[in-house]
Symmetry: C2
Subunit: 69 residues, 2 copies
């Protein structure tokens, strides 16, 4: 899970739902500054912060067994 990929997932889903960063900020109770930092892959969010965002975006974080390379 690269931070840059995570940012893209959040941004894409937010756009799919037609939400601005500001609206997502209000819904998730995460600062807009934090949101755009995460979307750009420049932040290293905590699980709690990330989960609040993902909840608003109808997404979930799960742990899986790693692929064998």
């Amino acid at each position: 899970m690269e931070l840059i990929q995570l940012g893209h997932i959040i941004r894409d889903k937010r756009n799919e739902l037609g939400l601005t960063q500001e609206v997502l900020s209000l819904q998730s109770d995460v600062a807009i500054k934090t949101i755009h930092s995460i979307e750009l892959g420049k932040a290293n969010p905590s699980i709690k912060t990330l989960t609040k965002l993902l909840e608003s975006l109808q997404l979930s974080l799960i742990v899986i067994n790693k692929k064998i390379n």
Copy 2:
């Protein structure tokens, strides 16, 4: 993703691999104090810290569409 569940996943996998918290700490470069706090669900780790642990445990963090309830 509840923090307590996450802790159980990490603890169970660590035991499966026969690693002590100390060994996992050395392998993942995460402080042992941080590890047992996470395992007990008392910590709110960052993505980077969590990913370092999961890497050592052959686990991955992914984002999925949330189940419809």
